[in-house]
Symmetry: C2
Subunit: 131 residues, 2 copies
Amino acid sequence: MSVAKRNTWQKDAVKHALGESKGFVSAQDLHQVLRAHGSTIGLATVYRALSDLANAGDADSLQSPDGQLLYRACGTSHHHHLICRECGLTVEIDASRVEAWADEIAKEHGFGDTTHTIDIFGLCRGCKGSK
Amino acid sequence: MSVAKRNTWQKDAVKHALGESKGFVSAQDLHQVLRAHGSTIGLATVYRALSDLANAGDADSLQSPDGQLLYRACGTSHHHHLICRECGLTVEIDASRVEAWADEIAKEHGFGDTTHTIDIFGLCRGCKGSK
DNA sequence: AATCTTATTGACAATCATTATCAACAAGAC
DNA sequence: GTCTTGTTGATAATGATTGTCAATAAGATT
């Protein structure tokens, strides 16, 4: 096999910045953060790097309720999230029970090649008070 | 209380067309269907009508994996969906077990005012074969 | 270290869904 | 019928994401 991937400071920068972020962030946000720190990275590159990370399983992606793609660094294990809609605080939740349930339901109806979207949005303790 | 809403043939058309549709449809799709049937309804109006229906609880909305907003006529009961990513076929699924689980998890972490996104995408029996 | 190949970058244009604007229109009250 | 004002629809505006492509640079090869 050939040399398919090259290491660039841009990819590292995105990966690192994603790791620094608390909750889920959009590509746009991440780009602005990087620029604010003096980086000259391009927006398209951030999108590409995030997409690659997500494909490689080093990042998790989901759609925010208003349609933006959000990313977050994560380990390899599949899991789901409890997300504060106000401050972006994210709690990883174990969803093995729901996983099993989803697969079961899908099989039951003859569906294959399934993916699921299971996320809970709410207001965390802190943000509940400040309303 | 004052007269806040007016009945127009446009709203009826959207509601009716949504009812006719099998699975989830985008506003764009619905607009094209309506135009194809000879209606002169405007795209913006379809968006507004769908948004209103969703607010009123007469329609259910969700984000497709590629970021589009999809709508579907539905009763008032809260439920979730198993959706064919190829043909849009939709199966309503009873998710009471998952509902309970979601609430429990949220409470456990001090989250309030929660909403959740629980949807399963896959290939239905028919579309699995035609690949 | 010099060179070569080609994956990658970044500025910018192109898409695409959705929302905002606003003058013209029409539903329903009087 | 008239009047008020919610509603419509053509169009522009927005905003996120993706495509384009010449210039750049990573890493293999010499």
